[in-house]
Structure formats: structure tokens, C-alpha cells
Amino acid sequence: FALTAQRWDKERLSFSILYRRIPPSLGLNRTSDAIRRAFGVWSRVTPLSFQERPAGGAADILLLFASGFHGDMSPFDGEGGSLAHAFYPGPGMGGDTHFDADEPWTLDAQNQEGIDLFLVAVHELGHALGLEHSENPAAIMAPFYQWSDAQNFSLHGDDIAGVQRMYGPPVASDAPPSSPPTHRDDIIITTPPSTPSSPDPPDPTQTDLDPQAQPDPSLSPPLATPTSHLVSPLTTWTGPDPDPVTPAVRTDGPPSICDGDFDTVTLLRGEMFVFKGRWFWRVWRNRVLENYPMPISVFWNGLPDDINAAYERHDGKFVFFKGDRFWLFREADVLPGYPQPLHQYGRGIPVHRIDTAIWWEPNEFTYFFSGDRYWRYNEETRSADRDFPKPISRWGKIPASPRGAFLSDDGASTYIYKGSSYWRFDNRRTEADRGYPRSILKDFMGCVGVPDPDPDPDPETERNPGTEPVRPPRPTESGRGPDRELRPGNTEDDPDQEVNVVVTVTDSESKVMTLVMVTAPLLLILCILVLVYTILRTLQNKEPPRALVHCKRSLQDWV
């Protein structure tokens, strides 16, 4: 056996199973039963005890099934090859165990076909407890998969020696337990929901249960015991919609992204993150990534549900706002000392609530929105600029309390979200584009069949249809930003002083321009090559000076 420097410093460990993408061939009950049995294998040879918690309850060990790239450094590779991996003990993702969902998982197979989930789970949980791969090919901690009869499975001496080196032998039954007594034979479910000793009794309505996996009739009696809080929600679960494209009516459980009404939408590391309740999605090119939604706490341990706003700061840290507090994260780790009250974030910004925050790349200021006003915040001086807050109408006809703002890839536009609609603001012209709001569910989340929002009435066209709306003058030298300086003589009601000329470049012109820009240099290069070639040819054909050909000893004959 081989040990790492990491081990758990407590005897009671909690685990959660994320039931999304469990192997259909096994179903929910057989999968959870196999994993619980695997935990039982290690608890029998150590003083450790394991308590199952609903997913999202910040358990020590999270087990999930995923395929391909799933957010850590070791993407799975389809069937065969890599079967699973685990993180060694530690906070955050320490102890987490991932199984490749594309493997032909099986249980108790007599014919050694497929990959036995129980055996792999025992191996990976060995890593989750701190064991490395063993050099003993017969040990369960040997790096390669080898079938053995799971029904009367027992750990190899090498495995037992390794794990007991770290945690010691199991507590002898006559010795006083170091932690509240557990019933060894149902080690997996240790505390019935009603015992007051569990700090946060599991909420039966909040569990990750998948309707597709029907309860396995052969196992139901033990799971149906009143002490198992997992059973009851099975009957009420309407479950996640595996196909987020068409909206479905939800009662509880992970929401469908096509329902809209998100808490906030933001870009982190250039990717769109959508938050709602205790869930979040990652959206990429109009498509929700696989394995999402995920509970927020799976990645941002310590971040509460129902956040108000989030943005990526200029230094790459993520700031989350909820009520009058904010959290600072470096990647998935909350920095010590957070949450803190809003007034400590900077001077002059709202202190009760922030609806939306965005670091605005064009002028490198941060904008906070709250209610129907917005603030411009200087990250360097950590204070809002003097003549703020200003009315939100500067960003166009957006509603009060927007729920998110993010930039387009090229930084030319700012999208502002609320409900299931979004508005677009042209950063160069510093004015709102027309033809909005549009449906963010359609344009960004890939939902179909959702209704379009009804467009905002355009005040001018309302008054006398058929005329062009008067455009506000261009911003002055205060720079590119929606908050232009309004100076005397430059107010909105003497438009003839400045006329806004809008030149629309059609695509075809730009195509022709591109064509010209490509062909001209190519022609030039061609000419140069031809010129060089002709010079070389002429040099090659040129005779040596005749005088050199005939060497005349004296000029007399010639004369």
C-alpha cells in the first residue's frame, strides 16, 4: 500500500450522491446501494462512520457520474480506459469521487461482463480516504480493474494495513465510542431525520432524485424503512427535465432553464453562468453544458442560495452579492473573512442590495445597478464616482432592478437581463439598440417554444408614427461610456447643434473590401516573383564579355 500526506482529521464523514446521469442499467436504488456497501467496506475496518446527506448539503465526499470533460483536469474517455478517479482528502473537492458514465456499469455480474460499480467504488473510496495505488496486484487498491465476486468481497490485507495505518483499527464494540453510537449494520443511514442531533435535518423535498430510475422492487424493503428519508421523495418527485429545450411545469427539484426568472446571469472567465435558487447552469453557444444544473455549493462551497448578483472583478476574483453582504471567491474557494457587509466593499455604493454588477471593459469601471439607479465604481479607489447614482434609463428602456448584465464577446454591446428578456446597449454609440427586449431563453439558452416578450413602445413613433426618433447627441470627451457629461450648450433639446450621421455599412461592401484587401497583396507578390524570375533567367542566358572569350595576346593582329 502507499499513503498520501492527506487524511481526514475526523471520524464522522458525510457523503452525497448526485443522481444525475447514474447508469440506466443499474437504476437509482442499485447504484446507491452499491455505493453504500462500498462505504461499509471501509467503515468495517476503521473507526470511520459515514452519513449520507442530500446532494448540495456540502458533504465531505460527493460522488457523481459524468462523461468526457466534466470540470476537472482529467476528462473521461468514453468506454474503457479511465473508469473513475477521486480527490484525496481535503476541503472543497477533497474526497470527491467521479465515475465515467460511459462505462458498461454492472453489479453482481456472474459472467464478468461489464465493470462492477461496487468494486470500483471501493477502490475510489480508498483514494478518498487517502490511499494511493498499491503495488500488490491482488489488492483492491491496485490501479487496474479486475473482477472479483462482489457478493463475498473482503479487503486484501494490504488494503487493511494501509487504511489502518492512517485511521487505526475499528473501535472495539466494548470500548466507549468516540462519537455517538452508529448501527454498524446500517452504517450508511446513521441518523433518522427526526433525531435532533443532526445539525441540519435533510429537507425531503430538496434531493437530487431522478424519476427515470424507478425504484428497484428487489431492494425496496430495506430502503423503504422509515429511517430512510430518500424513499419518500421518490413518490413525489417530478424530476428534472432531461431535455431542457422544451419548458415543463416544475414542482420541485432542479428547475428547467427554460422557465427563466433567474436570480442573476453573469459571465465568469468568459463563460455564461446562470443562477437560480440553489442551482446554477453553464451555458455555452446557446446550449446548456452537460451535467447542469448543479447545486451552487458543489463548486462554491459556502455560497448561499438565491444570490442577487455576481461579477468577475478586474483582478479575476468572483464577487457574489446577496442582500447587504458580499462574498469574495478565488476560483472555487471563498477567501477567509467573508461574507462582509456591502459598505465595506467601497464608498458611495448601495449598502442594502445590489441587483446587478458588471465590470465594464470599455472604460474599466464597474457598474452597480440597484432599483432604478446605477453607480459607477472605481475599483482602484474603491469608491463610486461623485455624480452618481444616475437614472437607469441611460441604458435604454430597461426595467428597474435588472437581474444581470454582461458584455458581448467583442465588447461592442452590453446585454442587460431581467425575467426572461434582455435589452442590448450599443457601447460605441452609447445608446440602447432598438428592437428589444428579446427573449434571452431563445437567444442564449437555446429554448424553443417560449413566447417572445412584447417589444417596448418607442415614445417617438408612438407620438407620430413614421418619423425617425430624435437621437441624443454623441457623448462628449468624458469618454466612451453611457454616463456622458451633459454640458451647457450641449443639452438634448438643441439637436441642430450636433447631428448624428449614421452610416450603415452593408455586409456586401465589407465583403468586397475584404476581397480587395486579399487579392491586392497577392497580385503584388506575384509580380515580384515574376520579376525575380525574369532577372535570374536573363543573368543565366547572358554571354560572358566577348573579350573574355577570346584572349588576345597582343593587339597587333587585331589592328
Binding site: T4, A5, Q6, D72, M73, S74, F76, G80, G81, S82, L83, A84, H85, A86, F87, Y88, P89, G90, P91, G92, M93, G94, E103, I115, V120, H123, E124, H127, E132, H133, E135, P137, A138, A142, P143, F144, Y145
Partner: protein, 88 residues
């Protein structure tokens, strides 16, 4: 050695590196020294897999490299010391 069906996309050196038997520098060296390092890495892997430690990439060794296995490497001598929650 006899070819196994999908042997053609198995890169033994890359496999040895991925699972910790060969360091990247070992891969880049050339000449007798790298052959020696390679042989030693192969025999190390054969020992872990319960094969005869010949150091040669024979059919049994290549077949063992194709077996489904855990993603974690078998040798990470330097990583994880004192690191908490760090991923192997």
C-alpha cells in the same frame, strides 16, 4: 510481438508518463540513457501489474496497458506532500 486490435492508438511512452512511471524529461532524452530509463519504467509497471519484470514491451505488457483502470497515476512521488485537497 503479436498486435492487439486497437494497439495502434496506444502510445506506451505516453501511457508510462501519464501514470507516473516516466517523467517528462525521461521522455525527451535520447540515446542509451533514455532506453535504460524506459526499460526500468516498463519493468516497474510490469511489477505493479503482476507481470514478469522483463522491461520489454511485449504483448502481455501492451495488453495490460489497455486494461480499464483508475485515472489516478501510480507514481506521484513529489505531488501531494503537505498539500491539502490537491488533486493527484
Amino acid at each position: 510481438s503479436a498486435e492487439t486490435p486497437d494497439e495502434e492508438n496506444l502510445n506506451p511512452e505516453e501511457w508510462l508518463h501519464r501514470f507516473g512511471y516516466l517523467s517528462r524529461s525521461g521522455l525527451q532524452m535520447s540515446g542509451p540513457l533514455s532506453a535504460q530509463i524506459l526499460t526500468r519504467a516498463v519493468s516497474d509497471m510490469q511489477r505493479v501489474y503482476g507481470l514478469a519484470p522483463t522491461g520489454r514491451l511485449d504483448a502481455a505488457t501492451l495488453a495490460a496497458m489497455q486494461r480499464p483502470r483508475c485515472t489516478l497515476p501510480d507514481r506521484t512521488p513529489e505531488a501531494g506532500v503537505g498539500g491539502v485537497g490537491t488533486r493527484r
